[in-house]
Amino acid sequence: MIAVIAALLAAGWYAWASQQYHRRFPAKRVLKMQAVAYYCGCAVLAIVLSPSFDGLADESFAWHMVQHVAIALVAAPLLLMGAPLLYLLGTLPRNAARILAKALNAQPLSTLFSPVCAWLCFVAFLWISHFSGLYNAALDNEWIHAAEHAAYVGLALLFWSAVVQTGFVPHPLGYGTRMLYIFLAIPQGAFLGVALFMTRAPLYAHYVAANGMTAALADQHNAGAVMWVGGGLLFFGSFMLTAATWAARERSRAAIGAAIRAASLILCVLALRAPAAAAIALPVPELRQPATLYATQCASCHGALGQGSNLAPSLIGVPEVYVHFMLDTGRMPAQVPYVQVVHTKPSFTPHEIDQLTAYIAGTLSKTSPRGLPVVAPGNVDRGRELFSINCQQCHGAGGAGEAIGYGYQRVAPSLREATPMEVAEAIRSGPGVMPRFGDKVLTDRDVDDIAQYVHVLTTQDTNPGGISLSNIGAAAEGLVAWVFGVGFLVILLRRLSLAGGTLDEH
């Protein structure tokens, strides 16, 4: 509410100041368009900062982004078009005006208004406000939020003061420089949008609390798209406007030609980018419910009912622990069929993995629910013995992994990234060509011990001899001996033989 009142006050002040100015300097022409732009800016501020819009922004990150984009990229340049600084100086008492003008032209303020500084301040604040605790703090505290919005308005005015050069101008800039200035701002805005768009986890706890994990992430992706596409178009519009103003001012064909060429270049870039953004933005599912996740991420290969296809095996009868292992280690969803899946970052959040596992095990595979293994701290010494009998034939004594098997299951993977839980799940489920070890072969205690040993082997220093060479063994050692040992000696020999003189004998 305070913001709306402030916007209205700013509009009222402008009406009064422009009249005063007109009275004081009757000879100076005041453009009506300038006043219209200023009032529009005030109106935009009043709308996007109104309590009802704030409510929307409080619920949805995407709407919040609309609010920020409107403040920074619409309201601020519109306000500046009204030349408010000129009217401020024109309506102040003469001495005060002189002091203010002097201050604006003198060291600290003039540095602040210099284009490089203005650009950096604005861009830095954009990034910091989104990727630090500031955003979350602002969402939870009314006053920080107000201060944040005020900073947006102030820094956006600073940013645009280099572009919208009407009235009193602290730092006059040529049109070409102004176009470059805007042009440089386009990619960083796009990067910010893309960065938000590509996130794999919600950034702000506030929205997670309000909407839940999956909805918050989808909302966050939408916010990224708003910044990416909306912000990009606004920057581009201002770029075109600058070009057009330049062309109109110069009335020279060369300038028009240059402006059009530059504009069309940027248009091409944007034209290539916007549809891509839209195309990626569309399929983000509104709801990441397990059934939806299965239908969108799994069913294309495993079939709608888990019956399998020629691309992937049937899920019917597959135990819960196997499903969880494949999802938790990021092996599923696989990108390409008939290629061995490897440990990677999971595609889903832990919560989604639990839900999806329960869905597949309960609804599709219909196995008796035996639950996931519970790993307790085990005995390392027993674990080493069990590991050496059961595991190291394929995974290697150092857990480096080894080539095995037929078909596309070619490698027993490295254990270096495996958590104790994953080790236990792999033992109990037997992924790929690995045998499944039931509780008649390895008891729960045995599994705990093995998991503990793998944990110690992979996390503690079991390579006191120096660089471990990935524990590949003699093949890597031979390579090192030849490349570094023999290589060094041959280079040394060649350098030594340069030194000698010659002498005859007999």
């Binding site: 190291q392 004594a397 006191p464 003699a474």
Partner: protein
């Protein structure tokens, strides 16, 4: 004082003329002539570090409960050999460092022997009068490879036990005498408690003594027959051009020795080699992977991996599959290497003395044969680590075996042909270059006369 001592010695021994002569002995300057010297320094490092290790290592097969620095094996029943290897790695000051320097030096030792051999082979330096030096050199290589194998088999860890098991199977595969030979060599059925102490005696006494003796003989022959030298201006069959032993060459040689010590120490201190604690003690029912021998055994490992599965039954005797790749193939390779000076002489009918080195262009057929043989051995060595290549490339290990079975025939043939063509080009180039070498003489009248130098 020094003068008096030296004078006293000279009075008794009368060696002054010889030493004076020896200190002025000339060594050729080309860098490749110092490759053999690396091996002398490697041997010194090996003996020094090996002596240290032998102070702490006990090859006994009796079982003990391990207690010591490697906590993950604490309380495990292991052989005394394995326990003492762990003890010297974890509880003896600088023990692990010495073990690692020893092992890295061994790898470099064999590598430089082969480089040295390649230099001698490709320059034809094995020809009369140096056939014996060459034959002793081949013997040194065989001894060094066996010494290396015996060395890394000593600690009785799982990896070395698997290696010994393979060696045992290879000995068994020899027709007729295989079983008896295996019993004799390993001291009973495998695994036998006698094996490790036999390997120990071979590794620390018999083979090093043989190596030192042959090395001395090798060097004495080099000293007596003098060095060969590259075919450069001023070098003839009758002279040696280079640097005198003192002060030039000895300084250079000391620098090389320091270089050997530096690189082996650096590798020993910074790069882990053969972590026997990770492999665990050898037990016949256990296995591990990736399991490779040290690189110089890689060609035999590769031959076993891609060898043909032929099994013959002749007159009541079985010739099992390992015989072909692991007994016959290396025997043939070493026989060819050993006899090469005489094989070549019988082909070229060239029995003259040669003190100047050949280039590839001087003997294209020899160059091609050497390249083909080296390629053959390199392909085999790479085939010996096909599982590691499969693991990191995600290519099926069975596909790699098939590929190597083709490459082992194709690549050596191809490399030999390419080498032959290149050598012929070099010969033509060399002839043209030589033809252009002329001497200019100024005549009395003031004009110039040109004379082509052969």
């Amino acid at each position: 004082m020094i003068e008096r001592v030296v004078g006293w010695l000279d009075d008794r021994l009368g060696g002054a003329p010889f030493v004076q002569h020896a200190l002025r002995k000339v060594f050729p300057d080309h860098w490749s002539f110092m490759l053999g010297e690396i091996n002398v320094y490697c041997f010194v490092v090996l003996v020094a570090t090996g002596t240290f290790l032998a102070l702490f290592f006990d090859p006994a097969a009796t079982k003990v409960v391990y207690h010591g620095g490697y906590r993950l094996l604490d309380g495990v029943v292991v052989s005394t050999a394995y326990a003492s290897a762990l003890h010297l790695s974890f509880d003896v000051n600088a023990g692990l460092l010495m073990r690692q320097i020893h092992h890295w030096t061994a790898l470099i030792f064999v590598a430089c022997i082969i480089l040295h051999m390649a230099r001698v082979f490709f320059t034809g330096a094995f020809r009369r009068p140096r056939e014996l030096t060459w034959a002793i050199g081949v013997g040194l290589l065989a001894l060094a490879i066996f010494e290396g194998f015996a060395g890394y088999s000593l600690p009785d860890d799982l990896l070395s036990g698997i290696g010994l098991r393979i060696a045992h199977a290879i000995v068994l595969s020899v027709p007729v005498i295989g079983t008896w030979a295996a019993f004799l060599a390993f001291g009973g059925a495998f695994p036998s408690p006698a094996t490790d102490s036999r390997l120990f005696i071979a590794h620390v006494f018999i083979v090093p003594a043989a190596l030192a003796t042959l090395m001395g003989l090798h060097l004495a022959l080099v000293w007596h027959q003098k060095h060969t030298q590259m075919r450069l201006p001023g070098r003839t069959e009758e002279n040696v051009v280079g640097s005198p032993l003192t002060p030039n060459y000895s300084l250079r040689s000391f620098a090389l020795g320091a270089g050997v010590l530096a690189i082996t120490s650096a590798l020993g201190a910074g790069v882990q080699i053969n972590p026997i604690w990770m492999y665990g003690p050898y037990e016949a029912w256990k296995a591990l992977s990736p399991a490779q021998p040290d690189w110089y055994m890689g060609w035999l490992e590769g031959a076993l991996r891609i060898g043909p599965p032929w099994e013959l039954h002749l007159a009541g005797h079985t010739i099992p599959p390992p015989f072909w790749p692991a007994v016959l193939m290396p025997s043939v390779v070493f026989l060819i290497a050993f006899l090469w000076p005489w094989i070549e002489m019988s082909i070229t009918r060239d029995g003259r003395e040669h003190n100047l080195c050949d280039g590839p262009g001087d003997a294209p057929a020899r160059f091609a044969a050497g390249v083909a043989l080296l390629t053959f051995l390199i392909v085999l060595t790479f085939a010996g680590s096909d599982d590691v290549q499969a693991r990191y490339s995600y290519v099926s290990v069975y596909a790699l075996v098939a590929v190597y079975r083709v490459l082992i025939f194709v690549l050596p043939a191809l490399a030999g042909i390419v080498a032959y063509v290149i050598a012929l080009q070099l010969r033509r180039h060399g002839v043209e270059r030589q033809a252009k070498r002329v001497h200019l003489y100024r005549e009395r009248a003031g004009g110039f006369e040109e004379e082509v130098v052969p």
